[in-house]
Subunit: 146 residues, 2 copies
DNA sequence: ATGGACCTTCCAATGATGGGAGGGTCAAGC
DNA sequence: GCTTGACCCTCCCATCATTGGAAGGTCCAT
């Protein structure tokens, strides 16, 4: 099975499969005589695992941890649960931060008549300071959200 | 006023001030005889504008648009309002996507006894497929959320 | 004059992903 | 056998906003 078929079956692009190999998330597969990567069912299984974890918002590093736990039959479910719940917390922190931004903007927009006149509280707030909303300063972790 | 003081006053790091200049978000300021960038109050004002827009999650490109509108005294408030509301929508789409991930994970974790035993529905879901949750496929724009 | 706190430019890295160039390989159809 | 198109390979580059550092120049106080 060449990389293109593996990509189709797993839903992970060929580019990303090579990338995951490069960064050590998956082991380098066997090669055919022509140098093509050869994948089997267990590789596809692994790639699907990765794909689903990506869809849940895990980073490559976190997926690496999950895959070790997956392969380790003696691991405690508590370990997995802890990682999952930590991730839930991180995701919810992100939603709170983004929602805070959205709310501030919504308040500003609600006070903007939105017609042809130039005066606009949104621009004024950006220019002059935060009179309308955004009472607290945004915290760390915020930078990667844009 | 040197770049360090401008950074302190505006809350934008010296590194980022130079970057914003490089990408054309701000115009190159005057230079002293020694080659140091010289900032005045209007520059600080502009940097604070940028800082606040960043805190609201606008990208550099969007801020560029907002600054043009800011400088343009004849602009209609409707233009600003449209940009703001589009951004609110984008932010809320992001929160929905992240919340969907968090909910899926929460459901999985709720079914995981989380003790020393190895069987764990979270890992099983990742390995075998999406039996528990995540009924819909995640949409576009999702990739940048991690 | 020496040190420390500035400033300058240039280069690199982050994380996950896409795009493309330049070149090799394979299988089907002629 | 040759051509063609669809693969595959390895590199390199770009994204976006931000940080870090190196190498070197400047300013000011001691």
């Amino acid at each position: 099975m060449n990389i293109g078929d593996a990509a189709k079956e797993s839903g992970v692009s060929a580019k990303m499969i090579r990338y995951y190999e490069e960064v050590g998330l998956i082991r380098a597969p066997a090669r055919n005589q022509n140098g093509y990567r050869a994948y089997d069912k267990s590789n596809i299984h692994e790639l699907k695992f990765i794909r689903r974890a990506r869809d849940l918002g895990f980073t490559v590093e976190q997926i690496s941890g999950l895959m070790h736990l997956w392969r380790d039959r003696s691991r405690a479910s508590a370990d997995v649960k802890r990682i999952a719940l930590e991730h839930v917390e991180a995701l919810e922190a992100k939603t709170r931060e983004i929602e805070e931004m959205a709310n501030t903007l919504k308040h500003l927009a609600a006070n903007c008549h939105g017609d042809g006149r130039p005066d606009c509280p949104i621009i004024e707030n950006l220019a002059e300071g935060c009179h309308h909303a955004s009472p607290t300063h945004l915290g760390k972790g915020f930078e990667k959200l844009r």
